[in-house]
Subunit: 255 residues, 2 copies
Amino acid sequence: MTYCVGIALEKGLVLMSDTRTNSGVDNISVFRKMFTWSVPGERIITVMTAGNLATTQAVISKLEERTKAPDERTNSLMDLPTMFQVAIETGKLLRETVRHTQETNGVRGKGRFTASIILAGQIKGMEPRLFMIYPEGNFIEASQDTPFFQIGETKYGRPIILRGYDRDMSFEDAVKLLMVSFDSTLKANLSVGLPLDLMVIGRDEFAPSHERRIEHGDPYFDAISRNWGEYLRTAFHSLPDYSFFQDYDPDSAGK
Amino acid sequence: MTYCVGIALEKGLVLMSDTRTNSGVDNISVFRKMFTWSVPGERIITVMTAGNLATTQAVISKLEERTKAPDERTNSLMDLPTMFQVAIETGKLLRETVRHTQETNGVRGKGRFTASIILAGQIKGMEPRLFMIYPEGNFIEASQDTPFFQIGETKYGRPIILRGYDRDMSFEDAVKLLMVSFDSTLKANLSVGLPLDLMVIGRDEFAPSHERRIEHGDPYFDAISRNWGEYLRTAFHSLPDYSFFQDYDPDSAGK
C-alpha cells in the first residue's frame, strides 16, 4: 500500500508521500513515489503515485520517454502549455498502461494492475494546480471546497487533515499537519512506512521551495509522533466529561 | 456501512454502534445493530453486527429461535455455560446463514452476503469477555495486547482509540473516547450515521450498567464534536514548529 497527500494552500502546494511497497507482508521494499521535473523560472511539475508498482514505474518512464535513447528524449511534461494538458497526457499514459497489462493478462474489470496519481505544479503565467488522476485516465481538480487529495491508505490520516486544514496556513504548518496525518497512518497500518518524501512548491517560484526525505530517526518527525500522542490525550481529557446520571448541560459546563 | 466498537476495560466492557444502513446513497435506513440479552444476576450478552443486513437480522432471529412459536422458544444464549460456547454457537449461525444465502444464489467466494459480529458479555463465575466473529464462523478473543475490536468502517476512528485507550480508564472516559472515535468517522464517511447505541457492561453486574441511544442533537455528543475540532487544533499548534532552514533539535525546543 501507499499513502500520498497533496494539499493546495494560498501560498502554493505541499506534497508528501511514503516509500513503502509490499507484495505480501514478507516482501517489503523502499521505492520513491514522488517525482519532480522543473524548468527553473518556467514550470515545476510533481507526480505522486499509488497502486501497482509496475504500472506506476511504467507511467513515469513513459513520461520521461525512456523508450528512446537518452539524447532523443523530450519529456513532454516540459513542453505542454498548461497543467490541464499535463493531466490529460498523464491520465492517458496511466489508462493505456493499466489497459495494456490487463489485456495481455486476460484480466477484465477493476482492481488488477491499477494505479492512481496526484499531479501538482505550476506553469508560468498560470495558477498552481492540483489534480487527482484515476486509473481510467480521467481526473478531478482541487478546489476551494476540496483543497486536498489523498491516495492509497487514506482513511486513518483523513480526520486530522479535515480538522486542521486552513487555506491560509503557512507551509511550515502544512508540513506539520501532514506529518501528524502520516504518523497516525504509520501507527495503524504496516503497509505505509518511512522514509517519507516532502516537496513544497511555492507560488510563482517554479522550483522546489523545500524538498526533503524524512528518514527513520528524524528528530522532528519523532518529536511530532511522541508529542502528538501526549497532546491528543491532553485534548481528550479537556473535553467535557460524560455522566451516566445526568444529562449534559452545555451552559453549566465549566470547560 | 457500519461502525461498531467494543472495548475491554479492567472495570468491564463498553460497546458502541451506529444505526445507519445503506444500499446505495439514496436508500438509507436506521436499523439497530446492537442486541442485548440478560438474565439479571446471572449473565449478560451483547452482540453488534456489521455487513449484510439480511444476514445479520437472520442470525439475530435464529439466536432468539424466532422460527418457533413464542412459547416454544429457548434462546440458547441464555443456556450455554460459557462465553466461549456462545461465540461458537453465534459463529456457527453466522457461517450457516452466509453459506446458505451464497449457495441459493450461486455465489462463491468472499464478499457477498457476509457479515461480522462483535460479541461481548459475562456469565457468572467467569470473566467479562469480548470476541470478534468472522463470516467464516471462526473468532478471536480480545486480550491485554489487543483490548478492543472494531467492525465496519474502522479506519477513520482507529488512531484516536490507539492513542487514548488505557485499560484502567473509567467507563465515562471510555464513552468519551468512543464518541470522539465515532465523531471522526461520521465526519469522514456518509455511510456511518447517528443515532448511536451505547452499552456499558460493568464487571459482575450481569445487567446493563448504562444504556443509551445518542440521537441527533444530543447536547453531549454535539459538545464533543464541536470542542474536539478546537482542541485538536490547539494540540496541533502546541507541536514543535517545522523549519525549512534548520534541523530540529529536541534539546533546544522550548515546548
